[in-house]
Symmetry: C2
Subunit: 293 residues, 2 copies
């Protein structure tokens, strides 16, 4: 038992926030019978302009049936997105393709530019790493502060390492690469990363649907390891006692939205949050409440 | 990476089996607007006999509204169950009360005899402990063989420690007590148990609905610790290399049904199963696919 169950600590708000959406404002995006995304009904006129690629009714959008291979869909939808990028409807183009399927395990039905994931309400896949140090007095966790020039969440707190999972890469490859780029963790040490499941997000967020599946990893680091950012994404790193991390998650909005779930998952797995917590089952279920898989 | 991803290994069958049900054969059991259980439609005539306690229609059963406190419901439903026990419809009476609510975190709406949980299709709460040893060559796990005189799953393989969570007990109390009774683990060692979430079951099983929420715990044991059963529930214990446990789960039906999920959850958390496994997302989601919480 510990003092992390203080009634003032509000950890459950993150599972609520990351699983709240009003789908009446969105139209499902289909490929055949499969719903692959959710688009704002306010955007339907955009899709109508490209009738060789998309079919549109009041309450749904679909990729036209003559586009009957992943390659054909990827190419046709990609051309539309290039056009939309020119019109300023897609920002932060990355030249990175995300896989789109109902389930991560399945073969993708198409690939789309990463920057368009929320515009189409498709699921983004990422890897997130909890870097921790086991000191004699307890657990400590490394927290990064994102650089202030980042397009998303500038200056917010983040994991030691995190990255998007683009098509054709394995989660493991991405973890090993990002360990080096984001925190200067050499491969010999990164090989000790341990996958332990995932958390999910399915919410409306600034008028779009945000859906994430974040594969979670832990890495126990030696006390004398100092992370060093290589790619400019991180301003600095701080090693915090776990009770300070609990405080940051429970009582502040300083941590990048979806990272809160990954950190709460760590609290659950390391017994920092226990079944005696008054909202335990709600929190634990909310970590993988779904929306994509 | 490891060789546990052999394509012949079938771990996903357990999440499928524990989440398969045909609810058209069952009627929901209500308290007010809340569904607390599922009863076989074949049993509706039993409920009709007790019209002061239960209301019955073709497709649903409810606890009568005049029973408007948890104490009143517990008493009235309890009297019906005593009657049913005399008629041979409830077997293995335990004199242990289970809490009934939609969510573990909520106040119970009534308490019912443990032996009647499946008869009413209510959620059972339990604690399950993975006892493991970290040897230089890798992880090993303690597996118990249930005594052949057990009413349920005689002779099947089980966790080192497991137990039902009766009303008024905390999960932690039950873990500490069962550690001693089932495996002779002294409290000083049991205090190192680490809670790490839960797994769920929602299936039809021999004509009834089985719903479980099993709080999961890990305990790393010293290499020289030998478990010893105190209460006659366990015939013997065996310490197995983790690859043999993977084999038992994937290729045999020797492990007690719901324990398979708890062990697979351990595989996920310890990186024995990784995102590169062809059914990873299906397996991980299936561990908490719900039904109760």
């Amino acid at each position: 038992m510990n003092d992390f169950h203080h009634p003032e600590y509000n950890l459950k708000r993150w599972v609520q926030r990351c699983n709240t959406r009003d789908l009446t404002r969105f139209a499902p995006l289909h490929i055949g019978d499969t719903v692959i995304g959710w688009v704002p009904k306010d955007h339907l006129s955009r899709f109508r302009e490209h009738h060789t690629v998309f079919g549109v009714m009041d309450a749904e959008v679909w990729v036209q049936g003559h586009l009957n291979t992943p390659a054909a869909r990827t190419s046709a939808v990609g051309e539309v997105l290039v056009e939309w990028e020119k019109r300023g409807w897609v920002s932060g183009w990355r030249d990175e393709l995300y896989r789109v399927s109902t389930r991560f395990d399945d073969e993708p039905l198409l690939l789309v530019e990463r920057a368009a994931a929320q515009l189409l309400g498709i699921c983004s896949y990422g890897v997130h790493l909890n870097g921790f140090v086991q000191k004699p007095e307890g657990l400590w966790m490394w927290i990064a502060r994102r650089a202030k020039d980042r397009p998303h969440y500038p200056g917010y707190l983040d994991h030691l390492v995190a990255g998007g999972l683009t098509a054709g890469q394995s989660a493991w490859e991405v973890v090993i690469r990002e360990c080096w780029e984001e925190a200067g963790i050499p491969e010999s040490l990164a090989q000790r990363c341990r996958p332990n499941g995932f958390v999910t997000v399915f919410m409306d967020h600034y008028g779009l649907i945000k859906r994430d599946l974040l594969f979670t990893y832990d890495l126990e680091l030696p006390e004398d390891f100092e992370p060093e950012n290589m790619d400019g994404e991180v301003e600095d790193f701080e090693l915090l006692p776990i009770k300070d991390v609990v405080h940051l998650v429970a009582e502040t909005d300083e941590i990048k939205l979806n990272c809160n779930l990954v950190i709460i998952d760590f609290f659950v797995r390391y017994g920092i949050l226990t079944p005696e917590h008054p909202h335990y089952s709600k929190i634990v279920l909310g970590l993988r409440a779904g929306g994509c898989a």
